[in-house]
């Protein structure tokens, strides 16, 4: 096998792994959009907030430390303990569920039946509120997230594959963190699908996504389902936040990963869970392959825009996305 071919495979593998993470973020959007018709602009900030909270809890940071110190003239920053990663993840999840409940109770409950654009504006407000809240609670410095995930390239895979392509090929470079992220994301996605497909609450979730009135008539509380989908979106945000945070540090630019999910959604369709997965994989592989093959000829850095151009092309030819419901206007 030629070295070029093997490098191509390596690019595809890396693309697939990046794609799974995109799919994970996109999934958070799809869950909420399907069940309530809300396009949740705050999804990225939720990932940031979850990561900040996780670090804060693990490091034993005092929430609102700056505010407390400013008001009372104290000098407290840390409780002085460290919480083990698993417990901290569980506590963060509780915070995200509480957040989901609060969002439903104080914001969207009062906006039932409003125009989609108003719901969208509310999520923009929510995004900035949450970003400010994260800043206020945990401070704005860049934090490192140490939950015990492996870092760096896998030597083992490199050694195992180095003999495949002759002298020009040095073996596959696969990041260990990417591999872990892929496995975790894949498990999460599959369990979410199984939950939606087979459990009682999942069936109720799908029912609400389909028809609110009919769902009410069979005894489903819309409020409960909405809190549930926001909680699930919070869970997805937490996982995405941990993976991206472990990769590049927990900083406020983390909320921008939401923007990467937009082309994925356009490709896969806003209402389709399989669409989010396939869309994520296509974008992940597409942008890596494009950079590898054509990027060099046109000056590189194509990863910044390739996904959006692909999404634009899709919008022209298939506005409902690969798996989205076709919009048929009956007259």
């Amino acid at each position: 096998m030629s070295a070029d071919f093997l490098y191509g495979i390596e690019v595809i593998l890396n693309g697939l792994m990046a794609g799974v993470l995109y799919a994970l973020v996109a999934l958070g959007f799809v869950l909420i959009f399907k069940a309530s018709g809300i396009f949740n602009y705050a999804q990225g900030v939720m990932a940031l907030f979850a990561a900040l909270t996780l670090v804060g809890i693990m490091e034993g940071q005092v929430p609102f430390a700056h505010m407390i110190n400013a008001i009372f003239g104290t000098e407290i920053h840390h409780f002085g303990w460290h919480v083990p990663a698993l417990l901290a993840i569980f506590l963060t999840l509780c915070v995200m569920v509480a957040f989901a409940w609060a969002v439903q109770k104080f914001v969207f409950r009062h906006l039932v039946g409003q125009e989609p654009i108003i719901l969208f504006m509310a999520t923009i407000g929510l995004a900035y509120f949450l970003e400010g809240m994260g800043d206020l609670m945990w401070g704005s410095d860049i934090k490192t997230l140490k939950v015990g995930l492996p870092q760096g390239g896998s030597r083992w895979i490199e050694d195992m594959t180095s003999g495949l392509g002759g002298d020009d090929f040095y073996g596959f470079f696969i990041d260990k963190l990417d591999m872990v992220a892929t496995v975790v994301a894949a498990i999460l996605v599959m369990s979410l699908i199984a939950f939606a497909q087979y459990s009682k609450q999942g069936r109720a979730m799908r029912a609400v996504a389909d028809d609110h009135q009919a769902a009410l008539s069979v005894g489903i509380s819309l409020n409960f389902i909405w809190v549930l989908v926001w909680s699930l979106a919070g869970l997805v945000a937490l996982v995405a936040g941990v993976m991206w945070g472990a990769k590049s540090g927990v900083q406020f630019s983390l909320s921008l990963i939401a923007l990467k999910a937009l082309p994925v959604l356009m490709l896969g369709g806003f209402t389709s869970i399989p669409g989010a997965i396939v869309g994520g994989l296509i974008i992940g592989v597409g942008e890596k392959l494009f950079e590898y093959t054509i990027g060099g000829m046109i000056g590189g850095a194509t990863e910044n825009w390739f996904a959006y151009v692909l999404a634009l092309i899709f919008l022209v030819f298939r506005p409902q996305g690969l798996f989205g419901e076709k919009i048929i206007e009956r007259v």
Partner: protein
């Protein structure tokens, strides 16, 4: 009226199940329902009829908790019902269908009917998420109940078909199946025969009678096709412009001058 009696065809009609007392419903300045009282007895088929815009659907929406009347009281099983959300009404054992069919179009017939069983499934979210013993048992039990109803309504052949692909008449039947799956104490049917051809209407009439006969389900239905209603129901309420203009057996109602006027129109001199 006695507490319970036997109809000529041998069914036992019990005491009062639902009692509507002085219901008035307004939308802004418009009075959709004006001070209407009537009752529904256990085991009977009770029809609400009237010309278009008479307020029949509004009345059904009041019973099922989608609308809340400004005045009047709703009594269910001997107790006054507080203002309730529709899903709480459903959990009390009142199931309904809709005039314009409200099914879960993207889901299969089986899943749709299973949704009707949600009020019977009690296991919590954690048990469901882990899919351990109790959750699994519950699924199997409810699945059996659903299969019985699917058999009963003769829709076995389309069990796995997405509802969106079904023709209108079958959708109406699936909707009936979903309501029936809840094993309701009171079944509300909003124009079950609207838009059907003669053959489909006969099928639906047969199913309604069978449901009442087999399960003893109390049924309240809305129709504006007089012929069908008269054959089907034990007692009929007639509405016109939000008022009640007649109440009684089909024969009594048929002879009521006000009802005849409402349906045939009356010459204004």
């Amino acid at each position: 009226m006695k507490d319970s009696y036997v109809t000529p065809d041998g069914r036992t009609i019990g005491g009062v199940l639902m009692d509507m007392r002085g219901i008035t419903l307004r939308f802004g300045g418009v009075e959709a329902i004006k001070d209407i009282s009537f009752d529904i007895r256990e085991g009977e088929i009770r029809a609400i009829i009237g010309p278009n815009g008479a307020g029949k659907s509004s009345m059904l929406n009041v019973i099922s908790g989608f609308y809340h009347p400004q005045e009047g009281e709703v009594w269910f099983r001997g107790a006054k019902r507080p203002t309730m959300r529709p899903y709480d009404v459903a959990r009390q054992g009142i199931a309904r269908t809709f005039q314009n069919i409200a099914l879960f179009e993207g889901m299969s017939v089986l899943d749709n009917v299973m949704c009707g069983r949600l009020t019977h499934m009690k296991t919590g979210i954690f048990s469901q998420a882990l899919w351990h013993g109790a959750a699994q048992r519950e699924e199997v039990e409810n699945r059996e109940a659903v299969e019985r109803i699917i058999d009963f309504l003769e829709i076995q052949a389309i069990r796995k078909t997405p509802v969106g692909r079904l023709p209108y008449g079958l959708k109406k039947r699936v909707e009936l199946a979903r309501a029936l799956a809840a094993e309701p104490k009171l079944l509300l049917l909003d124009e079950p025969m609207a838009g059907m051809n003669v053959e489909e209407k006969e099928d639906m009439s047969r199913f309604i009678l069978d449901v009442n006969d087999e399960f003893g389900t109390t049924i309240a239905l809305i129709e504006h096709d007089m012929g069908v209603v008269m054959d089907l129901s034990d007692r009929v309420v007639v509405m016109d412009y939000g008022r009640k203009i007649g109440d009684g057996t089909p024969d009594e109602v048929r002879g009521n001058q006000e009802v005849i006027d409402a349906y045939l129109g009356v010459a204004h001199d």
